[in-house]
Amino acid sequence: MTFTSTFAEAFSLIASLDARVAEIVLLSVQVSGTAVLLGTLVGLPLGAVLAIGRWPGQQTGTVLVNALMGAPSVVIGVTVYLLLSRSGPFGTLGLLFSPTAMVIAQFVLVVPLMAAIARQVVEDAWQRYAEELHVMRFSWWHSLTTLLYDCRHSLLVAVLAGLGRAMSEVGAVMIVGGNIDGLTRVMTTAIALETAKGDLPLAIALGLVLIGVILVLNAGAQVLRGWAMKRYG
């Protein structure tokens, strides 16, 4: 099969809305979307806490988050695998090799990344506003929520970074999901498998969809951010 014919067949699979491709894409979006949504709820406030909190261990927390930001996904995958395996502390939940396990693994992957970016964004705002918030007698909680609200457009970058990491990683979901056809097979694991099997058109089709999804989300976020910056300054 030539390079050209491989791509032609890949485009044909996408254009014909191939059921296998659609199923894999849908599961990928569900798993990564859920992980990033949960990651947003935890990662952004965590970053803000690290930015404005003044408590013992804050520096350690920042170092830990920064270090975990670059943790290899297979290491996260193995850790979550051990936690969810039959002999692990959460083995009784029976989550291993399920989409839920994949969500958990991706959640663990994206939270440090989102928290680290959020910490930097919120810390910059905190340095500008700290005195005024103090004078207005803002509590720690009120300061945190106000800063997160003020930085909401810049924090989109953290969400996008999380989404990018979740959708493109392969190691963790492969380990905890098992790449089971029709159950836990997502775009990245399918690409790895189909390439190994020699079914390059399907691998290329999934790769194109993956890049397309990430491009569309980034473009959408960029438009939204541009509008918001124009609207609110």
Partner: protein, 237 residues
Amino acid sequence: MFPVRLRDVRFEPNGRTVLDGVDLELGGEGITLLLGPNGAGKSVLLRTLCGLLQPSAGTIEWADGPRPETGVMMVFQHPMMIRASVLENVSLGLKPLGVPRSERRRRAERILERVALSDRAHDSARHLSGGEQQRLALARAWLTRPRLLLLDEPTASLDPSATAEVERIIREIRTDGTRIVMTTHNLGQATRLGDDVIFLSGGKVREHAPVRRFFAQPASEEARLFIQGELPWKLPL
């Protein structure tokens, strides 16, 4: 709350003297202008009064006991404008006081009328001009009905018409019963607004006098030179 007494207040970060034994008494009424050259310690004195800075030595005594938790507000030269509407920015002042959202909004709308910003209520606060942002910041502070309001160069880099509008609002806040202490480099403004003047130089209070007397008969040579615009930036200590 009043009188507020500062006794031998010193502020010496990293061994550098910024406030050098300030003794002051602030009564409960009027507008006090803090005048002095750059680096005299005016802004630091305001920050010390509102609790942002802790004196290295000396005491600040409030009539009712320790520094009150509420009732002291400060408006900065570059006030905070979060990425939200004018209305939201103004109502922020009431957030820590536990005022319900609907009530915050109602009171914010009312105060915006008094600072002539009603027509901009739903615009982004960051799109306001410098003068409008100062009016917003004054409204935010006024909304909390402070007993003491500290203003750090509220009209710096504003044009005459924006300055006049800010001065009108400051007078209204004063009429509402708020004690005001403000810094300025605008001597004309000092004569228009002030009841008394505290002249600071080198971190020391050189003179505290009613505004007319200060400008007509400054007690010190430094003050006289300052009024004439001849005071060097750094006085030899």
